[in-house]
Symmetry: D5
Subunit: 146 residues, 10 copies
């Protein structure tokens, strides 16, 4: 079973059981953002999480095995078109140099890891329009001299 079929199976089971990613994350004791990325095939799950999830959703072992496979991460277009994803791309374009200035001033020459990394999404209710709060948390990696 490949990652595409795995995602399909999970999506159908999630819809039938009327679950949300948030409920699933809580039930399995992990971040619902990370869990979503695993179910969409962009991260691999440790064995425990993989089998807990398939048990929770009533899916066969093949799905668990597919969840454990290390994915090849591919995206289609250098410039994404979907407006929600484009806005994130635009933030990188508009604020990339700014973040470089500010992070390197605080930490020295180096980068924020996208591997030793976690992310969260929260909803802030606001009478003028609810707000999305996105939190990225990555280890700082200093450039090495050798």
């Amino acid at each position: 079973m490949n990652k595409l079929e795995m995602t399909e199976k999970i999506m159908v089971a999630k819809a039938e059981k009327q679950l949300t990613w948030e409920k699933m994350g809580k039930a399995l004791g992990c971040s619902h953002v990370w869990l979503t990325s695993v179910c969409l095939g962009m991260n691999s799950a440790p064995k425990d999480t993989a089998f807990s999830l398939t048990e929770y959703l009533g899916l066969e072992d093949d799905v668990a095995h597919a969840l454990m496979v290390y994915p090849t991460k591919v995206w289609d277009q250098a410039v994404p078109t979907d407006p929600l994803i484009y806005r994130l791309y635009e933030v990188v374009g508009v604020y990339g140099e700014t973040l470089k200035e500010v992070i390197q001033e605080k930490f020295g020459d180096g980068i924020m890891s996208a591997i030793d990394f976690s992310m969260d999404v929260d909803k802030i209710e606001d009478p003028k329009g609810d707000r999305v709060l996105l939190t990225l948390n990555g280890k700082f990696l200093p450039y090495k001299s050798w």
Copy 2:
């Protein structure tokens, strides 16, 4: 005076006075991330902030006028090359579909605004290696049906 010359002038003054973006932000009562983006020419400053900044740095009025100009936001390459900025681009590629799933589950069909938007950078000290905490805060905009 165009934005490039403005940035140059500010950078020199900042270096001579041994300031940091953080100190400058505190002195002017605004976010240092936003202030950096203004000084790099990716946002315009309101009149008050523009003149407070040039006074604080001892720069002439021309710089204040350049700070107030509405910028045309341009970046050079569809795929950024600098490693710090690329990691952010990679996060959009790897987690873009995940964020779409999670945000639209919590808020409905729509996007997180990159205009009615703010951003912050914090340093979390950690004996295993300090961490960068990036916070993005954008208004949710629901798609309209009409």
Copy 3:
């Protein structure tokens, strides 16, 4: 049922019943432009509209569910080739800087939303050749300083 199959079913029913988008919009009490975008899979329909439409066209519930799904908006080519669509792209290329000048002079630094947005198409009869009148109506979003 995915969006492609949904569009196919609607197109066949529309052709069999010899309907136009305009008649369908009027019957459902909504803009025919918006309705077209929903049926082509570029917008999601609220539950009511989705079921009114499938009832009106005599289609099964699966189509209504597909209409309610939040779409991922994707287009194939950075530069469109079909002449009707290219002319619109050309207008953005030729008049993009002009619109930036004029809108920001009238509203300040910010953008016209493509999300809190509606659009209309009218026919102006003219003996020298009928004219297409396209109306775009989007909320102005000012850039935030923070």
Copy 4:
């Protein structure tokens, strides 16, 4: 004098006289959107308008001659980056197929001209946030069979 120098001269004169595109358009009896595109070098001006404008702004004849030159219309990037212009590009991407459906249903097989074409921008005041009203008006050109 080339178009770039021409635009520079006009921008300086406009700023010194504290004019707006709207005032300039009214004074010359033409659309301020079209006039902006002429001054940015994306359209040529008829002789009368060119000299009326330089007289009005107190500029030399060279500027008038540059205004009359037929421009080569060039834009830099297949996908624009400035957020205001990108949103227009996004509208073409998201609604291009929709507009093709609706226009060709109303007019037959053909296109909306981007040459025999005019455009307007209006501000609609609204307590929930002002709105931008963009009006595109182009002659319908039917495909010819021969």
Copy 5:
């Protein structure tokens, strides 16, 4: 029946009846160049021509309906690879600026329409090597000032 299947059916019938585009154009009283573009799915046929053609070729009504559909004109590559088509692309690259100079000198600021447009291909016999004569005939559209 989509345009691809339509083209296939016509090609098979044309081969079986050992017709040429030229004979077919004469039989139907229209340009064989235009007819070819219709049969390749790049133009729509008026109802009369569509049914005359299917009758002439002994094809069912589905083909006629497919011929009447307004096509979405798509080509695959910004730079064509087939040598015959590339040479035409090269002519546009090498002589584009020249044609702009010459056409706008004769007609004023504007373009040659590719919509209100016809085209012909002739063979000029020549002992030193036959020559292809391509004739493009398009309405001049002046830029509008407004």
Copy 6:
């Protein structure tokens, strides 16, 4: 003197003498379309023509030498943006396959040369709008088998 400076000199002389390409072509006994391409630096001139032209325009010998240089033909963008040139590109996209069908039916497997090639532009006056007549004349080159 490079080709850019050569073009500049010729353009200035042509404007001062209020000449047209057509007049210049007639005076020199050659096609005005070809002459334009030579003056824009996209073709080289034979020695005679080069010196006749500089004499006619009252320009120094350096210009004649620059006219004789074999040019490197470069154009900037895979997809041209200027509307006049884009329409020609569109004709290649829309009708490329059609021309391949028709030419190869008439001539066999091969191409129309863009080197052993000439081109003409005529104005057809028409009360419904003047028309541009473009004539391309290229030697047919059959593919060789060996």
Copy 7:
């Protein structure tokens, strides 16, 4: 039968009969390089060669008809990736300007035809490592002035 199926059939027959391109070329009295290009679908074969080949390989007439079809020559990537083909592309990049200098010095302004063209491949045995000898032979086509 399309060119892809044709190539497949020929490849299978060639492998079963343990033939080489060289043997096949000799048997048919033509260049084995040209014959390979025909069998890969990049050139068409004259009727005689097409039927000689299918007879020689024991293949049905459909294959001969497919060999006679005038191909549309398409390649996938602007920059080829396979190392053997990339090296040829690199030669064009590194030595393109050099060849232009040398050829135009010897022949005048013009090009080497890729249509009236043949090519050969030889093996030069050498104790320090065998060498590939590639010979390209194309008619010189002078640019025409008109």
Copy 8:
């Protein structure tokens, strides 16, 4: 002195002395094709050749030093536009797979080197039109298994 200035100096001296690449190659006892690539900055010259050339052309030592610099080989466009160079690119596109088939049949799995490589250009006089003979000679490099 960089490679661009070096090329300029050599071109001027070559023109003044009315030399050809062929004469220069003979005088220096090396291939005129290779010498041209050295003078255009696409190869480095050994010390002897570099100084022989500058002596022969009457140029200063700086030019010799620039000739000896190992160049960074860069070309501008994935798809070349100049017709002479494009035809070579087209040959790679049309015949790349053919050459792979033929070379690997004769030599085994491997490539023709573009580094341990030489090239020649000859003129074959022919009453039906002279022909360009291009000879590429590269060492065969077998893929290694390890």
Copy 9:
């Protein structure tokens, strides 16, 4: 059997037998890195290795034949997206010019062959985090003058 099916068969057998690339390389007496590239279809295997491998894995002869086929090496994207592969691409971008400087200083003008080439991967255990040791070993090929 094509290379894709071959890879699939090998992957299934490898998983069922719970082998690693390292164990397979040792068993066959060859580098496990090279063996992996062969099994992924990016290199061909000599006859002996091919049959040893299929015997070892209990696979049919078709797989051995597929292993012996000379592959066409293709990769999809100019800029790879998977983070592990992107980091390697980034190393080429960041250190490419550096490696050119250092290698050409040590060896003269030339390149490191990617054909007469081998590669190894080792794990260096380290309490602060294990390290990947990648060793590339390629023959130096000097540019030839001729």
Copy 10:
């Protein structure tokens, strides 16, 4: 002083003193590969190294300050053209998937860091042709689940 001017100054001093990167690395007690990347502006130097280097080369303090600046790492082309650098890019293309398989089999799901990273170049003398030995050493970073 920007990085370009810094590189220029260092290159001139290095040439005048007839140094090599290797000698410079030894003198300063650091890797000559890393030092080269610092001098080419692709890495920043710690204060000590920066001043040791300028003292060693007899350069002013401005160069030391430029060496300490955190660089923005930019490279021009998605696919490099210089043959030495292209071969490295080709290795990533041909062996990228192989390295992913082998590294992830040995280390688990994760990547080799290009930041906590070092690199070395050695010359292996060999009568059949010297060999380049490239060693890449990067920390393994496991993907985090959270």
